[in-house]
């Protein structure tokens, strides 16, 4: 799980072009949206692409993302339970 969390942090940084943020800057339980990383609705959609591309998880309803993308840990738990690749 810790490996997946770390991997996920660098994947998020890459996918969302968070140029000046390092994996250490993102706490495992920090909220991804809201003030923290300054992410917006397009970033949420880009995370949906990341889930499908890297882990074979298809989220059809963008509102599912709201629950899954609460923190990196919640995302990692969801991926572990649902990944197809």
């Amino acid at each position: 799980m810790e490996d997946l969390i770390l991997e996920l942090k660098s994947e998020i940084i890459k996918a969302l072009n968070l140029e000046e943020i390092s994996p250490n800057d993102i706490g495992d339980d920090d909220p991804l949206f809201g003030d923290g990383l300054g992410l917006d609705s397009i970033d949420a959609l880009e995370l949906i692409v990341l889930m499908e591309k890297n882990y074979g998880i298809k989220l059809t309803d963008p509102s599912q993302g709201r629950d899954i993308f609460r923190s990196v840990r919640i995302m990692a738990e969801y991926i572990q339970a649902n990944r197809t690749k």
């Binding site: 917006d40 609705s41 397009i42 959609l45 949906i48 692409v49 963008p62």
Partner: protein, 379 residues
Amino acid sequence: MISWMGDSIVSPLGFTSEENYQAAKGQRSAVALHSCEGLAEPYHAAIIDKDALARAFEGRCESPKGLTPLEQAAILSIKLAAEGSGICLDSSKTLFVFSSTKGNIELLDAPAGSYEREKLYLWHTAALIARWFGNPNEPIVVSNACVSGACAQIVAMRMIEAGRYETAVVTGADMASRFVVSGFQSLKALAAGQCRPFDVNRSGLNLGEAAATIIYRKHNGSTESSSQISLLAGSIRNDANHISGPSRTAEGAFLALNDILVHAAKEDIAFVCAHGTATPYNDRMETIALRRAGLDGIPTNSLKGCFGHTLGAAGTLESIISVWALREGIALGTCGFEVEDPDCALPVSANNIAANGSYFLKMLSGFGGSNAALLFSKP
């Protein structure tokens, strides 16, 4: 102020303004389920039958060989708009204005080398169309996202009013290519079925394909000019809020409405033809703009349920349909609308209603935070 001389629409609902207007008046929708090789999921959209287009083009113009469907549709719409208008398309006093968001972008799917690379450039498409009619001027290309078709009419008005040209041929055209459809799918912006503008159950938009041309001439104060529809004013305003989401307070759309309202008495506005894409955010934003401008008591419609969102063609297409309705004194119903949304408390109706008044307003909004409003009048 400029005078309306002619118009034509090429869409899945017909290849003339008359056919398209009658379809819209009968609440007919061109939206249907399509699938496309190279797309993960099927989608609902209003798609032109390309074989029928090529046949119509051949019948009215010449061989469509070497012309993309977008170019065929644009040329056909100009040809039909100009017929009977008495306008010389090949005159140096005639300006061509072209509005498109993506032009021939579908060519990116074709093998490199199978087409002239310049066809990917919007100025090339515009020049090809103007040259087809023997026009000697460099055409103007406006690419201002989904408000392009309003901006193109505004530019035509300014160029004519500045005395640079006598006449302007304003054409909007866009196709629902794999490029555009996949992009809107990735934004989760497409409706699962037919779009429902202003309806409480709206869930997204449908894309549409069209080319629509309006011909304008200088308003010369003659009785002939005075007996025509006029474009009185237009305004473009930015929300300065977000590149892909509208302002929560409808800042840009409100300012644009405010700018043009100085030219009309509110009580004489027959109807508002909203952008009405049927995305949750857009329709609510427009409601807020209309409320802030004191226009939320005026019959409001959206034509997206009939034609889909035709992107760079939406501004000209929806202006044409609305002009035809203004002439008849009716506000067209909104195809796809059933149940009012408390957040969109506007006089939207599923059916056509009588609408007295000499003016109508056309609203458009787009990515990049741009908003536009146009004011038309009948004599």
